[in-house]
Symmetry: C2
DNA sequence: CGGGGGTGAGTGAATGCTCACTTCCGATGG
DNA sequence: CCATCGGAAGTGAGCATTCACTCACCCCCG
């Protein structure tokens, strides 16, 4: 991932001809969305940044919307995949470290996805189309898989029996989601205390600790 | 609030002349945003819904952006205010009930604000303008005030001393934020299990419980 | 020579906003 | 008490601009 938090395809084989410009278009679109925002990400700007003509876009993508959808699907960190692997790791390593890893992946993921997801809400019919194309990979699967993981740890006794895994997962994922929102909102001019803690790493450990203290069995019980 | 979750001014005095059309414009804009989305909320549509000419909008608002900002400020439930009252209530009632009340207010608030806030991220300069106009009433104050409340309860011994109030507040507010996002994303066609629990009230109690079990001193400690 | 990849020059449709103008109402002054 | 005036509120008709998208046409490789 580069500094935009955008996945770039392994550039081992230097992509030739059609595939190359296609990739350049997606890279250009992803970069523009992350820097100047989605409304300023026009077909003209994408073409200019990709070093091709506007008409060339339409040789590779049906319309502008498809470009955005492909960016979201091919250039976003695969958060859902990363979280889906968690249940298999139940019992190994520490719960705390696994959850912290989720936070470290989830915050950048949401920070990148937010502008596009947010703009989706600007037009419900576009949102409906995207929701349909997403199929069963909807955003609820992140907390859903995390809840599965917590359930697995619960069976192993590493998470207290009284815990509601769905609610706990929602708390953690929600905190990441909100944190990403705040980081975007106060781009570089956050007032004092708006982002607390300041560093991403501190946020991960503090948030997980706050959640864990309610999840793991207290030592005196 | 009406079914859009939009605040309408007390209509006791039936607003005459200028103030009336101004209010009608804001109502029309708020309704359009909530129904057809922000991109379809054009000046022409606002004027039509408000029953006045497009030019009339500009007698009351400098530009379209100001209409949106005023809607956000004058028609949104005052979440920050509601949460700011909490610290004063520390020691009275139950912590659990106070937090559940926050959830019950926060979810509809975020559900209403999300389309506008999300679209803000589509154009960073518009976001910067809005952030400046918001002054010190930024979105971080919600979790910030909630953290203050938790600190107050902490001093009273009703919240365990080891708790990080900022992290705990972030968890709860984040869960509400994310819940609102999911409710909007799966407008009426949520796949099974996408919204768990289904009812808003169950969500409030389950979420608060999951958080509390890490906040209040465990009985055996 | 055929066709995939690429281009420059448009096109129609919106959109935000302005302009010149009218209407209405309340304050002012004789 | 009425004539007059000034300004706020409102309007219809555009204007400039931007946008996504298309068309006719090339170039070059297999």
């Amino acid at each position: 991932m580069n500094r935009d938090g955008v996945n770039e395809p392994a550039a081992a084989e230097p992509l030739t001809g059609a595939a190359r410009t296609r990739a350049r278009v997606l890279d250009a679109a992803a970069h523009l969305i992350a820097t100047v925002g989605l409304t300023r990400t026009t077909t003209k700007e994408i073409a200019r940044a990709a070093g091709c003509s506007e008409a060339a876009l339409y040789k590779h993508f049906r319309d502008k919307e498809e470009i955005f959808v492909r960016v979201l699907r091919e250039r976003a960190p695969r958060l859902a995949d990363a979280v889906a692997e968690l249940p298999g790791r139940a019992g190994h390593g520490s719960v705390e470290e696994h959850l912290a890893a989720v936070v470290r992946v989830a915050v950048p993921f949401y920070r990148q996805s937010f502008p596009m997801a947010g703009s989706l809400f600007a037009s419900p019919e576009l949102l409906a189309a995207h929701r349909r194309k997403l199929g069963d990979a909807g955003p609820h699967h992140v907390s859903s898989h995390l809840a599965d993981y917590l359930r697995a740890e619960q069976r192993l006794g590493r998470v207290s029996a009284g815990t509601d895994p769905d609610a706990a997962a929602m708390l953690l994922i929600g905190a990441c989601f909100h944190r990403a929102f705040l980081e975007l909102f106060y781009a570089d001019e956050a007032p004092d205390g708006a982002l607390r803690p300041v560093s991403a790493e501190e946020f991960a450990t503090a948030t997980v600790r706050a959640l864990l203290d309610g999840i793991v069995d207290p030592p005196g019980a």
